[in-house]
């Protein structure tokens, strides 16, 4: 390996780039040779119930925080206060729509009122089409027999979004106005967005205990970054000349903000609200792992008992809620643009209609507050039982009839790709894998990526879950390879054909708004509880983003270049391989980056359905006290893997762009 590096160092820079794949190949070959010799030594394996010193120390830390929660001033006057305030907010919203309070056996607003409010608000901020969709979607929750669970999820999501926007929009405005603050914020936001949703949970439970408040705080932390980022972006993209013109008329800074910057960034900020809501919904469902009430909890419990029917029913409710929230906020964003274009005649009718609607809404809310039939959703969720049993039947049928196919696929991929690779990673001495990772970082990403890689490897060893990390790394790598295969095939197809793009893109967009959680359910039905299920779910979860990035990269290859290649006599295959893909190289690296991050976050969630490794360690940490410290260390290991992937691929992307 050192010889190879020396050889490349001596040739000219132009040659060096061409030979980078050869260096990578040399590194991998060296690894295989050493693996054959050193197999099974210094692998740092740790059995499921074994702990290291760090884990025990973290357990002790948890215990001591638990013991001093009400005496330590930091907790007494700061963390506990936050928890209390959030708890009050959540309880208040829950008492409105989901949970009985005091002497009332039902929430303040019954199902009819909630459906009415949803429809009215959707109509007021969006249009009547999304209002119909919202009403239909919310009624569906009741029919599924998941009304209260849905309302719990909604209550948590709304509370989190409220807090996230209260924090995020002002911070975003600040970051938009001040370059210095923006420079300080950006690395934090980058870091927060590369983290898998999962890892936020553990450290927060340490401080805020498990339950609704913790779930909302986690969600706020996860959902605020998009709000901050997009608001800042919106403020920054107000044209310079407009700001200058307003300045030249003598505006004060406040007038500038209120009359120019905020109105002009409104549409983008509403899109930021959309992102925040979708992020919050995704996180709220995952927060079920720390005992947050709602649909997520139903899914988690069903997944843990491999009850596909119930999981599917609840997963479907999450999907419906995601669609409704996404469509309504997207329509709201579109409305800010189109409102003034609408016919003046329609506009004149709008105000009285809104007022009439408000009166009707008030009546409906009153009814749902007063009468039981309007407060509690009638029936017993017969539709839900049907869905669940249909899902079960389908699963049974699939397992009986298609299992040959699915098992074949699973076995081929598991035995042919996953197992050898995983063995290579877990059975090599830890220092050998470490050297290989650092060498790859050096070749692909440059010196700084290598330094980051070395730090991450060192810290991974320190967490004591090295072996589990390598298992997760193997799954992630395999899934990412599959994602990139899909990405290149579909991305090139979409990039070359506008028609395919128009057909496929909406599906990808829809797939991206789904909380990662729900992807597990159908694949659990198909493949049972194995590592492979998590990998397939991860591929499906990460593919849309990779496909879109590659499609855009291919599309952005200048028309003239393609034309020139065609006129030089290239056939389609030559154009793709010699012109379009090489020119979309930086899109490919970016897609790898995003693919890795998405895959990682899904692979760890897969710990719930038998993927084991780091994801399982984290989940087990929530449920078993003595494994708490190990779970926390596993969360840290996930963060380290994420940082390492992100830094290396980012550096590689920068190199290809240069």
């Amino acid at each position: 390996m050192a010889v190879a590096a020396d050889a490349t160092a001596s040739v000219t820079p132009l040659r060096e780039r061409a030979s980078r794949p050869m260096v990578v190949a040399a590194v991998l070959a060296g690894w295989l040779v050493l693996f054959a010799v050193l197999r099974g030594r210094q692998t740092l394996t740790l059995a499921a119930a074994d702990l290291t010193g760090l884990h025990r120390w973290l357990n002790d830390l948890n215990d001591s925080i638990g013991a001093n929660r009400n005496s330590n001033p930091l907790f007494l006057y700061f963390f506990n206060e936050i928890r209390l305030a959030i708890d009050n907010l959540v309880t208040f919203v829950q008492s409105l729509i989901s949970q009985p309070t005091g002497t009332r056996p039902v929430p303040q607003i019954g199902w009819l009122g909630v459906v009415g409010i949803t429809g009215y608000v959707s109509w007021a901020v969006g249009n009547w089409r999304v209002a119909l969709l919202a009403v239909a979607g919310f009624t569906f929750f009741g029919l599924q027999g998941l009304w209260q669970e849905s309302m719990d999820t909604l209550a948590l999501t709304l509370s989190a979004v409220l807090v996230a926007l209260l924090i995020g929009i002002p911070l975003g405005v600040w970051a938009g106005l001040s370059d210095r603050f923006n420079r300080i914020m950006t690395p934090f936001l980058d870091f927060m967005q590369t983290m898998p949703t999962f890892v936020y949970l553990a450290p927060l439970t340490l401080i805020f205990l498990i339950g609704g408040a913790s779930a909302v705080i986690t969600t706020v932390i996860y959902a605020a970054p998009p709000a901050i980022r997009i608001t800042a972006h919106a403020i920054r993209s107000v044209p310079e000349t407009t700001v200058e013109a307003a300045n030249s008329l003598g505006t004060t800074r406040l007038q500038q903000l209120v009359k120019v910057l905020l109105p002009m960034s409104r549409r983008t900020v509403v899109m930021g609200v959309n992102q925040t809501i979708m992020a919050a919904l995704a996180m709220v469902t995952i927060a079920a792992l720390i005992d947050a009430p709602g649909l997520g909890k139903t899914v988690v419990q069903a997944l843990q008992s491999l009850d596909v029917g119930t999981a599917f029913n609840a997963g479907l409710a999450i999907v419906v809620m995601a669609i409704v929230l996404d469509r309504v906020t997207t329509a709201a964003a579109a409305r800010t643009e189109t409102a003034r274009r609408t016919d003046a005649r329609l506009l004149r009718w709008r105000r009285p209609l809104l007022a009439a609607g408000a009166i009707g809404l008030g009546f409906v809310i009153y009814v749902s507050h007063t009468y039981v039939w309007a407060a509690q959703f009638p029936g017993h969720g017969a539709v839900g039982s049907h869905i669940a049993s249909a899902a079960d039947t389908t699963t049974g049928w699939l397992q009986n009839h298609v299992s040959g196919l699915t098992n074949g696929l699973r076995n081929v991929l598991t035995n042919g790709l996953l197992n050898p690779f995983q063995t290579l990673l877990t059975d090599s001495p830890w220092w050998l894998v470490g050297i290989v990772l650092v060498a790859l970082a050096l070749v692909l990403g440059g010196r700084w990526a290598a330094v980051t890689g070395a730090c991450c490897v060192g810290l991974l060893v320190g967490t004591g879950v090295w072996s589990d990390s390598m298992t997760t790394l193997a799954s992630t790598a395999v899934a990412t390879v599959l994602v990139m295969l899909l990405g290149v095939v579909f991305g090139v197809w979409m990039g070359r054909s506008a028609l395919v793009d128009r057909v496929v893109r909406p599906t990808l967009d829809a797939a991206q708004v789904m909380p990662p959680f729900v992807y597990l359910v159908p694949f659990l039905a198909l493949f049972g509880a194995t590592r492979f299920t998590a990998i397939v779910a991860a591929v499906v979860y990460a593919a849309p983003v990779a496909i879109k990035i590659i499609a855009d990269g291919v599309r952005n290859v200048p028309e003239a270049t393609v034309e020139a290649a065609t006129s030089a006599g290239c056939n389609t295959w030559q154009i793709i391989t010699k012109v379009q893909l090489p020119m979309a190289r930086s899109a490919l690296t970016l897609a790898t980056n995003q693919g890795l991050i998405y895959v990682l976050s899904m692979v760890v969630v897969g710990g719930l359905v038998g993927a084991g490794a780091l994801g399982y360690d984290v989940v087990a940490g929530f449920s078993q006290g003595q494994l708490y410290g190990k779970g926390l260390a596993a969360g840290l290991a996930i963060v380290l893997l994420g940082v390492m992937f992100d830094r290396i691929t980012q550096a590689a992307a920068r190199r290809t762009r240069a």
Binding site: S248, L249, G250
Partner: protein
């Protein structure tokens, strides 16, 4: 038909005696340097002597405006002309402190605005001067009338009052009927009329134009130039106009300042620039200007020799050559150039032809 004529500012009457009125804007030794330690550059005789490139290499600073001085008289249209990168846009922004000058004075109606605190500066911007921008800078979420009223609104004028005033101004710039449109429903030329109306609505003393018509199509540009001339006749505002287009400068400007690399190269009326270019740069610049359209008899007359017949027709010295051509060629004898009863010189067929023929030859 004559080939494309260069139209020339025809409003000499407004600025005949700039000396006897105090200037509205006077700029003295103005500097704007971007970069680290920008403050040190104007004070250092050594650094001042460097070219832009050398200054960049030595200090990392860019001198956008270097030691510029001029005065603008009331009612005058003062044009600053230069190619891109010559510092003209920076100069005009320094005049209203949209960009903070590094050194020098900008005296506005007797007050050095560099000393104004933020509150006073806002007051000045609200009531004394306003600006028209190349890319309009309109607010897309407001109707035309609200865009025009924006400056009045931030002054705190009541709604009824500012709408009334805005509607008047909209009418003045020829946009009546479009009050309730949104900017993106208008063409570029119409959007710039909104920008113009917004600048006029506050009834400022001075209007600054930063290449206002550069983003427009040539035909629309010509319309808008005429519009500015018409408005200048109607409202008589002092205007400082930035352009990179020489024909625009000659058409609008009473006086023209030519900038290059941040320095002022020459400042004078159009015929002075064409008749007596200060250096090769200006000479190159004005080479393609049809001289007959710009030069006046003053520039081509020769002293009367004893053998000249002095009983020909009389013309004033500020008559443009093109307009005098027919009269001079028709006359049997040389034309006398007379100002206030005093004979300044004479112009014969020879002088006229050398200008007209020379111009048409593209010399």
């Amino acid at each position: 038909m004559a080939p494309a004529q260069t139209e020339v500012s025809q409003r000499r009457d407004t600025s005949e005696d700039p000396q006897d009125r105090t200037p509205v804007v006077s700029v003295r030794r103005l500097w704007k340097v971007f970069g680290p330690k920008a403050d040190e550059v104007p004070g250092s005789a050594e650094l001042c002597g460097l070219t832009r490139r050398e200054l960049m290499d030595r200090t990392g600073c860019t001198a956008a405006v270097r030691d510029v001085s001029f005065e603008v008289s009331p009612g005058e249209v003062f044009v600053v002309m230069g190619l891109s990168g010559s510092g003209k846009s920076t100069l005009v922004r320094c005049l209203t402190r949209l960009i903070e000058p590094t050194a020098g004075e900008v005296v506005f109606e007797g007050e050095d605005i560099r000393g104004a605190d933020p509150r006073r500066l806002r007051e000045l911007r609200r009531s004394k001067f306003s600006m028209v921008f190349q890319h309009f800078g309109l607010l897309p979420h407001r109707k035309v009338v609200d865009n025009v009223a924006f400056g009045l609104e931030i002054r705190g004028m009541s709604k009824a009052e500012r709408v009334r005033r805005a509607l008047e101004t909209v009418e003045l710039v020829g946009l009546a009927g479009y009050e309730n449109s949104y900017p993106d429903q208008l063409s570029g030329g119409m959007q710039q009329r909104v920008g113009l109306a917004r600048a006029l609505a506050g009834d400022p003393d001075v209007l600054f134009f930063d290449e206002p018509f550069s983003a427009l199509d040539p035909l629309i540009r010509r319309d808008m130039q005429s519009e500015v001339i018409r408005l200048h006749h109607e409202v008589g505002k002092t205007m400082v106009f930035i352009t990179h287009d020489l024909s625009e400068a000659l058409k609008l400007g009473d006086r023209i300042l030519i900038m290059r690399d941040g320095r002022m190269v020459q400042c004078g009326t159009g015929d002075e620039l064409v008749g007596a270019p200060a250096d090769d740069y200006v000479r190159d610049f004005v080479r393609d200007v049809p001289r007959g359209d710009v030069l006046t008899l003053r520039w081509i007359m020769r002293p009367a020799e004893p053998e000249d017949a002095l009983d020909g027709p009389e013309l004033g010295p500020d008559v443009v050559v093109r307009e005098a051509t027919r009269a001079v060629l028709a006359a049997e004898k040389p034309v006398k150039v007379v100002e206030g009863g005093k004979l300044l010189g004479i112009v014969g067929d020879e002088e006229i032809l050398s200008v007209v023929a020379g111009a048409e030859g593209g010399a």
